[in-house]
Structure formats: structure tokens, C-alpha cells
Symmetry: C2
Subunit: 123 residues, 2 copies
DNA sequence: CCGTATCCGATCCGATACTG
DNA sequence: CAGTATCGGATCGGATACGG
């Protein structure tokens, strides 16, 4: 899962970095600051611990997120977006979020948006 | 592959719509107007005809692209982004493209960017 | 030129059990 | 609380052949 060097276009590398069912959602959940594993798992509907850790680890290898370990028990680890690559990638995720909101509103899913109180983001 | 109605967040639906290795690249190639299947296949490095048709068909079902058929032989079909959903989704793809360019420039792949003359897009 | 069908390996992802 | 290991079903994606 290391970065290849032979990408033929920028979208290919972005796909490699954020592909999969969970990565965009994880990054979105980190948009307002650092969170622990258990916090993330509570907030992300349906993700298993295994998937969460696996995806976080990949994002870390790509330099999109980083982690703070506090030593001692109980363990406390916090994950956060990196200033450069993380924040950069978040820009794309934010647009995706807004596009998703519009799409849902235009396709009979306004009720879900409304029920959750989801609002479009400032870009 | 029809749209579910039980999405729990906007990013989930966006993932469903543009997931896979090829869809973002296909949409990007359509950004400046309609193109035929064979044009797209020439421009998209490494895609097979099967994958291209399959992905185009999915994008069509989601209302992201549409097609013009000209009757008679030789067949000529053109694919293009829809005004609403297609252009909307393109916004996200454009950001992804720029993020990818930055990422490549910062990670020893400037030569690829330069060799292909790839420029960041106006947002 | 466009589109469909099939076969098959690679990978994704969920469930589950176990460790420090 | 955080992380690892394994196993199997589902899905993805490449090769290839054939049909309108």
C-alpha cells in the first residue's frame, strides 16, 4: 500500500489515498480537531473497529493524518489531520459533502438531511 | 446498483456515485464537453472498453452523465455531463484534481506533472 | 464504432476472537 | 482503550471473445 511512483494522472493518486467506503467519512469527522478511536467509532455509523484502525493506518502512511499517543493506562490516542496534506484533502471532502447534500435533497432524501440537521458547509 | 434510500450521511452517497478506479477520471475527461467512447478510451490511460462502458452506464443511472445517440452507421454516441448533477459532481472532481497535483508536486512526482504539462485548475 | 457476456484473480470489508 | 490476526463472502476490475 505504499505510494507508487508511476501515476499517470493526479486523480489516480487521490483515488489511491481516499478510496474505500470509510476514508472520506473518517476525514470529515476529523475536520474540527483531534479525536480518539472510540469517539470516531461512535460517530461513524456502522464501522467496525477493525476497519477504522485499518483505514486510519493507511491515511497515516499517506501523511493525511497523524496521531498523538499519551503514555500510560488507560491508553489515549488521538488522530488528527495534518496541516498540509490533511487540510488539503479535507477541501475535497468538504465539497463532496456539499454535493452529497444537494444530491440527497434533489432525490427524495430531504427527510434524512432534515432529521439529522445536516447543513451545507461554507467553502 | 440502484440508489438506496437509507443513506446515513451525504458522503456515503457520493462514494456510491463516484467510487471505483475510473469514475473520477471519466468525469474529468468530460469536463469540457461531450465525447465519444473511443475518444474517452484514447484519453484514459489503461482503461479497457469493458470498464469504460460499465462505468459510463453507472454514471448515467445516477444522473451524472447523459448520452446522445446518432442513428445509423457508423454508430456515434456522445457522452456528456448533465447540467445539474454532472456539473455539481465535477466541482468535487476539480478540487480532487488540484489536490492530486499538489500532492504529487510535494512527493517527488513533479516530473510527471511537468512532463504532461498539467496545470492546476481555476476553482 | 458500440455494447454484452463470461471467466477469474485481486481486493475489500464484515464478523469474530484474542492481546497489551 | 487501542490494536492485531484470521477467515470467508461480496465486489471489483482485467482479459478475451462475440454480437448489433
Amino acid at each position: 500500500m505504499k505510494l507508487r511512483k508511476d501515476y499517470t494522472c493526479p486523480l489516480e493518486i487521490v483515488h489511491d489515498i481516499i478510496k474505500g467506503k470509510w476514508k472520506p467519512i473518517i476525514l470529515f469527522q476529523l475536520k474540527d480537531g483531534a479525536k480518539s478511536l472510540s469517539q470516531l467509532q461512535k460517530e461513524i455509523n456502522g464501522i467496525t473497529q477493525k476497519m477504522l484502525i485499518e483505514q486510519l493506518s493507511e491515511l497515516k502512511q499517506y501523511g493525511i493524518i497523524s496521531k498523538n499517543k499519551a503514555l500510560g493506562y488507560p491508553l489515549h490516542v488521538e488522530y488528527f489531520l495534518t496541516e498540509d496534506k490533511g487540510q488539503q484533502m479535507l477541501k475535497a471532502i468538504r465539497i463532496m459533502q456539499n454535493v452529497g447534500i444537494d444530491y440527497m435533497n434533489e432525490n427524495g432524501m430531504e427527510d434524512i438531511i432534515k432529521a439529522k440537521g445536516i447543513k451545507k458547509l461554507e467553502i
